[in-house]
């Protein structure tokens, strides 16, 4: 067994139908006029781009939209993320972890694809804090 097989035993076919569905029929895709929070960033390694717009009332996320372009993983997870945060208090949204996001996505990813899956979360947090947050995978 070569080095590759050894290192990537966990690889699975992961273009599940629901991922493709989120990719082709994204929920909450669009922009908000005059959002309370907004941020946009890209994954320098693959060029995926995500923008997140939030409208917040009394500390609760009333509306959230994402836009951008990129791979199915990045776009589907951004879309799923909008569903996760809609209607939730901002303080709770801040607590959403990398693990939460990956669990919601429901597939096992290689390190490169993890960056795609977490781009939406990174942009969301940057929008709330008003400044870029570092990658969570930094040691």
């Amino acid at each position: 067994m070569g080095i590759i097989a050894r290192e990537y035993r966990h690889m699975d076919d992961f273009y599940r139908e629901y991922i493709l569905d989120y990719y082709r029929n994204p929920r909450n895709r669009g922009v908000i006029e005059a959002p309370d929070y907004t941020y946009e960033d890209s994954n320098p390694l693959c060029g995926d781009e995500i923008r997140m717009d939030l409208r917040v009332r009394d500390g609760v996320v009333e509306e959230v939209k994402f836009s951008g372009r990129g791979c199915a993983i990045s776009q589907a997870s951004a879309s799923m993320l909008t569903e996760m945060v809609e209607g939730r208090p901002l303080e709770e949204v801040k607590q959403i972890s990398k693990e939460d996001m990956l669990e919601t996505l429901g597939i096992t990813l290689t390190p490169v694809r993890v960056k795609c899956a977490l781009l939406g979360l990174k942009v969301l947090k940057s929008s709330i804090y008003g400044l870029p947050v570092p990658d969570e995978d930094e040691p």
Partner: protein, 416 residues
């Protein structure tokens, strides 16, 4: 560009393949279909073994050592320089400068020749099909000097726009930066002609030959460009090594780039006399193993014959483009096979190239997905990314067929 192929024996890709240890690996019973040589090439045993031999038997620093292993290392190091010189037919081995990669070669021109020769009234021209490594240095140079940037755009089918070329000539630019072969579109540019036309208006020409030197006969004297850069890891050589081949008079007149060991003749606390070419531009301990490995890589390519390498790839790219064109919803970029280097870019329906490359990888087919460090080109064609298959001496029609088969599988997964 008309090519004269003198060596008509076809290259035996099967035999070549056997020289590359990585290609002997199988995953889940499938052979490795490596179609990303545009990013970096694989290495033949001879190169890997040369590195091994250096580290195991005569590892020592070069140039200043008196003892035998150091002399041997220096000798092999300098012999590699001569091999590289001959490979691209440079006038003298003094015109061959070793750098960290072609990116460093191009930046060296910007920081030394550029800062000494370019000023705020000057114009710098580059093309829309350049790799970031042949764009950003000129933007930085423009920032340092105030020089104006102008661009030569590309046509829908991937050629340089002739009207833009003429407009650029009228500007009598100080510098033209142009790639010999596009790493995305595959376009082979008519370098010899471009150099002649731009020299006529007094322009200094820098050629990014990163995708040319590995794939076709390159004769820098025939091109007559002022600076030519290329990178070892794309031509069977080790990582961490590039080449800048420069016109001697220019190199001699240029200030040095980095200061340190080897590039000096005499150092006093307050002043320094610099060394002769090429060492003036090689500060610090060089990539000794890398240079020795590149010498072996160049021997390997010379033995195959660059005419035959080009003929093999031309034939293979023609076949690939033909086969790809038959995949439904597939959009091909770049010029027709006759003007096409070893890289073929495409998109497939609404499948993001990143996803596509991922699916192909499940079939053990390695392709590159993304902007290929050519974002302006992506903007030009209004796409975020492409998928790129790039070929080399060890690829054959079976690899193309594996690619096409995997593309059909991707269509199925994406329910197209």
């Amino acid at each position: 560009m008309t090519e004269t192929i003198t060596d008509t024996r076809a290259l035996d890709a099967q035999a070549v393949r056997r020289d590359f240890p990585i290609l002997q690996q199988e995953t889940n019973g499938k052979r490795l279909v490596y179609l990303d040589s545009g990013a970096t090439s694989q290495k033949p045993s001879a190169v890997i073994e040369a590195l091994d031999e250096y580290y195991r038997t005569y590892n020592a620093n070069v140039h200043r050592g008196v003892y035998r292993i150091s002399e041997l290392a220096s000798e092999r190091y300098e012999k590699s320089r001569v091999k590289v010189q001959r490979f691209v037919n440079a006038r003298s081995s003094r015109e061959i400068i070793f750098t960290a990669n072609v990116t460093a070669s191009l930046n060296m021109v910007a920081y030394t020749w550029g800062r000494a020769n370019v000023s705020r009234d000057d114009v710098i021209v580059f093309t829309e099909m350049e790799h970031h490594s042949n764009i950003v240095p000129w933007q930085i140079l423009s920032g340092m000097t105030g020089a104006r940037l102008e661009f030569i755009h590309v046509t829908d089918d991937g050629y340089l726009n002739e009207e833009d070329v003429e407009r650029a000539l009228e500007l009598r630019p100080k510098l033209l930066a142009v790639t010999a072969v596009s790493n995305v579109l595959g376009t082979i540019n008519p370098i010899k002609e471009l150099v002649a036309r731009f020299h006529e208006v007094g322009t200094t020409v820098v050629v990014d030959a990163a995708q040319a030197v590995p794939h076709m006969p390159v004769d820098v004297r025939e091109w007559d460009a002022d600076f030519v850069g290329f990178t070892a890891h794309k031509m069977l050589g080790p990582t961490g090594l590039g080449v800048l081949c420069g016109r001697r008079e220019l190199l001699e007149a240029m200030p040095p780039f980095m200061g340190g060991g080897d590039m000096i003749r005499e150092v006093h606390l307050d002043r320094t006399r610099y060394n002769e070419l090429p060492w003036k531009f090689e500060a610090g301990t060089p990539n000794i193993a890398g240079v020795i490995g590149l010498g072996v890589a160049v021997d390997y390519l010379s033995e195959l014959g660059m005419d035959r390498v080009r003929a093999h790839e031309r034939e293979l790219v023609a076949y690939a483009m033909e086969q790809l064109a038959e995949v439904p919803d597939l959009r091909l970029f770049g010029p027709p096979p006759k003007d096409h280097g070893a890289a073929v870019s495409f998109t497939l329906a609404d499948i993001h190239p990143h996803d596509l490359a991922h699916i192909l990888d499940q079939e053990n087919v390695c392709v590159r997905a993304g902007h290929h460090c050519a974002q302006p080109l992506m903007e030009r064609y209004d796409i975020a990314a492409t998928t790129r298959a790039s070929f080399y001496i060890y690829n054959d029609r079976d690899d193309v067929d594996a690619l096409v088969e995997a593309l059909h599988k991707a269509r199925k997964i994406f329910m197209l």
